[in-house]
Symmetry: C2
Subunit: 327 residues, 2 copies
């Protein structure tokens, strides 16, 4: 059994470094075959880190702020926790990295530090999307805002490999997100991408998917540009959070409703768990030369464990090599 080394940005996200460190420890307990290098302020990390023989620290005294210009921050802050983690991947000292930090900085670092795979024009953030019937995989949700049809074709290819190898879907159904399922729908880019994807023999392309069918999980891989994908993802997250907050608010006003909620709590918890992003293990940045996984900014330790687990599987399945071969 060869060991997999994963660099984890200890300072990224709303709950850093505590939850990141706790997640690293849990992940090492769960997986015997990984070593973790936490990057960030040594003192701060040590203060919240349980000793573990497979966890190491790489000091980095800068932090990239979510409000900074992503590419500038990555270029200038050579000693930031994120850049140090990515440099480890670039040098081959780690096979992958995980960060709950700024999305833009992770994309910038993926391209400028880790580097794109040969033949890949633009990277894509994929995200496992829990839906009613299954967990789909949607990409891009925010790495590449302006896409050419060729980018969408590459996203389809990378998404299909991820769905198959990491999410264990046999012959994944690939669909393009559009404003209707009829062939005449789509904007110019989507129409041109459809032509390209249809003619790629290695893909099981099944046409367009519209918004409501995303909810039902009527595709394994949902391909879209980063602009649309980002709006759709945030809208979905917002609706779930909004409904939760409305429900809590309304229930608190009535004794009857409180009693009802108590009786219903197993059902509500089950439904909630089904759509809980923490279970679904981070967003891979596909198209770069290493396993780069973004965890949600609000990640607590279970979400960090999921993201580390996704990085481990990504590396173990040689996903980078598979993508390179297919592109």
């Amino acid at each position: 059994m060869s060991t997999i080394t994963i660099a984890v940005d200890a300072m990224g996200g709303d709950n850093a470094p505590n939850e990141i460190c706790a997640g690293a420890v849990s992940a090492c307990k769960e997986f015997d075959d990984i070593e973790i290098v936490l990057t960030g302020d040594t003192e701060k990390i040590k203060s919240c880190l349980e000793n573990h023989p497979r966890i190491h620290i790489e000091h980095a005294d800068e932090i990239i702020d979510p409000d900074e210009h992503p590419a500038n921050a990555i270029r200038r802050k050579k000693n930031s926790s994120l850049r140090v983690a990515m440099e480890m991947v670039r040098r081959g000292d780690a096979q992958g990295c995980v960060s709950a930090g700024s999305t833009g900085a992770i994309v910038a670092g993926g391209v400028l530090v880790v580097g794109r795979l040969p033949g890949i024009d633009r990277p894509a953030f994929g995200v496992p999307m829990p839906s009613i019937e299954k967990v789909s995989f949607m990409l891009d949700v925010g790495a590449t805002v302006r896409c050419k049809p060729e980018n969408l074709l590459q996203f389809a290819t990378m998404g299909s490999i991820y769905s198959h190898k990491i999410m264990n879907v046999a012959n994944p159904e690939v669909k393009l997100l559009s404003n209707g399922t009829e062939d005449i729908k789509g904007d110019d880019t989507v129409l041109a991408a459809r032509e390209l994807i249809e003619h790629k023999d290695s893909l099981n392309f099944c046409g367009y998917i519209e918004g409501n069918d995303v909810v039902w999980g009527r595709a394994d891989v949902i391909v879209c540009d980063g602009f649309n994908g980002n709006i759709a993802l945030k809208l979905g997250e917002g609706i779930m959070q909004g409904l939760k907050s409305l429900l809590v608010d309304e229930v608190s006003k009535s004794f009857m409703a409180k009693a009802g909620m108590l009786l219903m709590s197993p059902v509500v918890k089950r439904l909630w768990a089904r759509f809980n992003y923490e279970k679904y293990g981070g967003s891979p940045l596909l198209g770069v030369n290493g396993a780069v996984i973004k965890a949600h900014g609000r990640s607590k330790s279970p979400a960090i464990v999921s993201a580390i687990s996704a990085a481990r599987k990504f590396i173990g399945e040689n996903a980078i090599e598979l993508i390179s071969r297919e592109i």
Copy 2:
């Protein structure tokens, strides 16, 4: 008090003609100042129509099928219920029309039969969007898939007038849907549209809005192209329907949960009613020379009443003239 004449496509939508006719009768009972002309098969309409002195029938023996090519159907089926209703608007025999029929055919008819307003390049479907804090107005949700920045500027102007005059919002806050709220976000079209809208003095432009803020209602007018708007609208509808169906399914499996649901039913009904599209009165097709209102394809009579009420208000407030003056 001058009478407003509204042509209503009696044959469009999943529940035509019964629910359309019932809606027309209810609307006439609610509003003293309207006359309604139902267009469609006279026999079928008569068979489900309660007599009312202010409801008339204009015979039309063709129906546009949702699967037909919209523009071709509008051009060829000169005697379809939708086209006959739109011809009445074009001739001035009606000031507005309502249809629950094919979205594409309504757009095609709006442009080819009713005609665009001078200076308007492309029309937009607006939709009142119930959110947590208010009812926003979002446009375009599917009339114009490919938008230029100038189109988005016109949508912003028309949406602002609609929000102010029909939805009674003082100084409506206008925002552009984007993949983040920072100024650097947006694709090329959105960035260029932002420049244009920012410099239009009559608009209260407040920057970008992202998916999660749509849910909270953090804008009065949300401007986007028809591709994005359509995906967002269907995603929102799909999530609400999906959650309802999941909840019903889960609750049916447990006696405790059923009892809990019974106690919670006032709360659930109240929440549901808040997001019920039937209350919010149809989607106006803005930018054409008449009040053209689309009702949801699944509309039952209350939704038809809402759509007729929206048409009545649109006409009563001289919205067409206000839009023409501003463009």
